[in-house]
Each structure stands twice: as C-alpha cells, then as structure tokens.
C-alpha cells in the first residue's frame, strides 16, 4: 500500500464543550476518491473543515504529503496542495462566472492558468455559456458546478468537497458524480467528499462511515455491503 497523501490521527474537534469529532483516524491515498458518509450531524463537515483549517481541532495530527499541518493556517495548507469546497457560500456570488474562475487560479503557474479554466469550461460547458453572468443568477445546480469549477481552477492536489449533491435533482446527482470521477481520472487528484447521498457508492473507491463523531466503518467499496451503509443512516437494529 502506498503512503497516504492525507492522514488524520486521533483528531478531536469541539464546539464549546461538545466534541463533534472523537479521536478520528482517517486517510486518503493518492488518486483515490474517498466518500465520508453518515447522517446529518455525524461530523462530516466538521472533519473536512478541520482538515482544511477553517476549524481548529483540540487534539490530533493532520499530515498532508508528509507535512504536519494541524497548526498551519488555511493559506499555508492551501499552498501545500489542499483545497476545501465548502457546502455553503462556495462561490463569489456577486462576481461573474469568469471572474470566479480567474480569481481561483491565483496560486497556479501563469502558464497553467488558461488551461485550468478551459478544463473547468470543458467539464461544465454551461459555465462557459454563462461566463459573463453574475454567479448568484445561476441555478442551484449551476452554482454547484461553479463551486467544483473553482476547485478545479485551484489545481489542488487534494480536493475536499463538502456535500456536493445536496439539493440537486436525482438525475443531476448521477451526472455530477460521474463528472467528479472524470476529474479524478483526468487530473490524477485525490478527492475526498462528504455525502449523505447513497449514490456516492458508485464512484468512491473507499468509504468512511461516520456517526456521532466516530468512525463506524472504513472499507473499500467492494468489501462493503449496502446493509452496513443502510444501518448507518437508519440505525442498526441489533
């Protein structure tokens, strides 16, 4: 097994006196799509925000490409190759689509910038059509595409995406997940996404089940029965 690009050891994050994550161990391998699944309030967003640095964990170690980053600022983590697309407020809503993408390539080499933006347009042609439109006039689905486009433009080695499918029509969800898979195949990046939608099983290589701030399972997709996942959401009968 190759070394993980992202590794979290004994991570505990609290909101006041309530611990939202209890000594979590988590990792993601190179070029892997990892799904973090679990019901509302399981701590999925908290885990991603703690990794990205928007939240400060109380305890634990976070390693990215061999660097210990738990005391690094958001910016420093970003410079090392990590990017989080948050669940909400994940676009610059008063800027045009084009400018949203242009500002997101800020850390990339100048020669690569055009290429990254073109790739985002290639994946989501509707964004190219609407490039001059102000972002908050896009539909919900298009805004989600733009958020992922921002992630692509940022060219991060490890992309964390918080609940990309939430609020999307079922038909769109399948297509959206396929696009995420294509991004991984094309760019060889690592994608970690938190999801409530069970369709994530179709694209993830590995799944972490999270419930009440604790890991319930960590399995490669092929070893995972649907019942285990179902239990996670519905509560186990036993």
């Amino acid at each position: 097994m190759s070394e993980p690009v992202l590794k979290v050891t004994d991570l505990t994050t609290c909101y006041g006196s309530i611990s939202a994550l209890k000594s979590i161990n988590f990792y993601a391998l190179d070029k892997e799509i990892v799904g973090i699944v679990g019901p509302n309030g399981a701590g999925k967003s908290t885990l991603l925000e703690s990794i990205a640095g928007s939240l400060q964990p109380v305890e634990g170690v976070i390693e990215l490409l061999g660097h210990r980053i738990e005391h690094f600022s958001v910016l420093k983590r970003r410079q090392l190759g990590l990017m989080l697309i948050p669940q909400e407020a994940n676009i610059f809503s008063m800027m045009s689509v084009k400018k949203n993408l242009e500002v997101s390539v800020i850390l990339s080499d100048r020669e690569k910038r055009e290429e990254l933006i073109s790739y985002a347009y290639e994946l989501f042609p509707i964004l190219y059509e609407r490039r001059k439109q102000i972002a908050n006039t896009l539909s919900g689905g298009q805004q989600r595409m733009l958020a992922v486009g921002i992630g692509i433009a940022s060219n991060a080695r490890v992309m964390l995406i918080d609940e990309p499918s939430i609020g999307l029509a079922p038909k769109l969800v399948t297509k959206f997940f396929e696009t995420l898979k294509k991004i991984r195949d094309d760019t060889k990046k690592t994608i970690v996404l938190s999801e409530q939608n069970i369709k994530v099983l179709n694209i993830a290589d590995r799944l972490f089940g999270l419930e009440a701030g604790e890991i319930r399972f960590d399995e490669r997709k092929e070893n995972l029965s649907r019942d285990v996942v179902k239990d996670l959401y519905l509560g186990s009968i036993s």
Partner: protein
C-alpha cells in the same frame, strides 16, 4: 463641502467594504497625516503631501495587521471594534498633542480660486477633492477588472472564507485596504486643512462625519457614499447659509436620522463589497 467629505467617506467605504471592520480612528489618523504634511510643508509641497500620505498608509497597515485582523480572527464583534478603534483614535490624538505643540494649523497650499456655476461659486479645492475621489474609485474599479490584486480584493470582500480557501492572502488584502483608507482620509484632511484649519481634535469630526455620510449612502457601497457626501455637503452649506452655522449640525443630523428611518440600509443599500 461634499467634495472634501467624499475622501474620508471613500476611505471608510474601502476599509469597511473589504475588511468588514468599522475603523473609527480613520479620521484621527488622517489628521495626524495632515499635521505631518504641515510639518514638512516649508521644504517642498509635493514631498510633504507624499510623506503625510505614506505615513498614514503605514499607520493604517500596522493598525490593521497587528491589532484589527488578529482580533477579527479571534471573532471580535462590532462593539469590540468600536471601542478598540476609538481607543486607537485617542492614542493618535494624544501623539499629536505630544509631537506637535500647536493646537491648530492651517495648511498653506496655493489657492486655485473659485469656480462659478449657475449663480453658485465653489471653491476649486472642493472640485479637485471630488474629482480625486471619483478618480480613485475608477482606478479601484479598473483594478478589479484587470489586475490580480483587484480581483483578490473583490473576492475577499464578497466571501472571506472562500477567499482564504482558494489561497488569497487575505491578511495582506486587509492591511492594504486599511492603509489605502487611511491614506484617503489623510488627503481629505489635507484639503480640509487648506480650506479651513486642522485642530488636534479635527480627526473626530472628519472620521465621524465620514462614517455617518457613508452609512447614509449605504455603508460599504462606494457610489452611495459619494452621492451621500455630495448631498450632505450641500445640506450643510445651505443650512449654514440660510440659518447660520450653528444650525448646520442640527439640520444635518435630523436629516440623517430621517433618512435612516426611511431607508435603514442607506440611500443605495449597504453591501459588503467594493
């Protein structure tokens, strides 16, 4: 009057628009720069103005970098910023008293004369101040369209968290915004000091007036701020002319209260963006 007010108003709008932090010390810092300019004025006018403006930029930068940004990272709220920036203002007013022994100064800049228009005459300086403010605004807008720095400002003002996540150096953006705002206030103070005079405490007038005018225009909304500066300036001039100077502030603040009751978000609505 509105022309000169437009500069501190622009300063307030730039700082609040980008950082989301109201800095009530801006006027005092601007007046501090005005005194610095006055001190060097006998050597060379251009150089003196440049020194004053640069000093204000640096002060604005440092205050933001060592004080306001860290407090904002820790989750400071509006009340805390109100008290802290007022305290910063008193520190600089105290420094003024300590460094400059004179309680009031007048900046002797070459007069440009007055411009007459439709029966009114306007001091040339006021027109220049207004043009300067509009020019600055246009430059900011052009930078937002065409430069990386401008786009970073805009992104930071719209969505701080996402700006950080995509890798914008938001701390630096905040510092530049604060420096720029204080530099604009300084230019406002220089104009003010050459038309009227600058007292040690003038900064509070300039700063609070700038704030109130900005709020009436829609705080953070730069065009609203400029329109409001012009209207408020005219209100002050006319009420002073018709009723006498002592009535100026009565009329002005009654109108401010009225406007804010009718439109709590200001004339053009407030927006946390440039």
């Amino acid at each position: 009057m509105g022309g000169i007010l437009s500069l501190p108003v622009l300063g307030v709008a730039v700082i609040y628009g980008i950082t989301g932090i109201p800095n009530f010390a801006i006027g005092v810092i601007g007046v501090f720069g005005g005194f610095v300019t006055w001190y060097f004025l006998s050597y060379n006018m251009g150089l003196a103005i440049a020194i004053g403006v640069v000093v204000c930029f640096i002060i604005g930068w440092i205050v933001q970098r060592v004080l306001l940004t860290p407090i904002s990272e820790m989750g400071g709220d509006a009340t805390l910023f109100f008290i802290i920036t007022i305290a910063v203002g008193f520190v600089f007013e105290g420094l003024l008293r300590a460094i400059f022994p004179r309680p009031n100064i007048s900046l002797e800049l070459p007069r440009i004369g007055t411009i007459s228009f439709a029966g009114f005459s306007v001091e040339g300086f006021k027109i220049i101040a207004l043009l300067f403010a509009i020019g600055t605004l246009i430059i900011i807008r052009l930078m937002e369209e065409h430069t990386e720095m401008g786009k970073s400002w805009q992104a930071t003002s719209q969505n701080l968290k996402l700006a950080k996540l995509i890798g914008i150096k938001t701390t630096q953006v905040f510092s530049i915004a604060s420096g720029l705002g204080c530099a604009l206030a300084c230019i406002g103070a220089i104009f003010w000091g050459s038309l009227y005079n600058l007292q040690l405490s003038s900064g509070w007038d300039l700063g609070f007036l700038g704030f109130i005018v900005a709020v009436v225009g829609g705080i953070g909304n730069i065009w609203g701020g400029l329109i409001s500066a012009l209207i408020m300036g005219m209100v002050m001039s006319f009420s002073g002319y018709l009723l006498g100077g002592e009535w100026q502030s009565v009329i002005l603040y009654c109108i401010v209260i009225l406007v804010l009751i009718i439109a709590p978000k200001g004339i053009l609505g407030s927006e946390r963006s440039l």
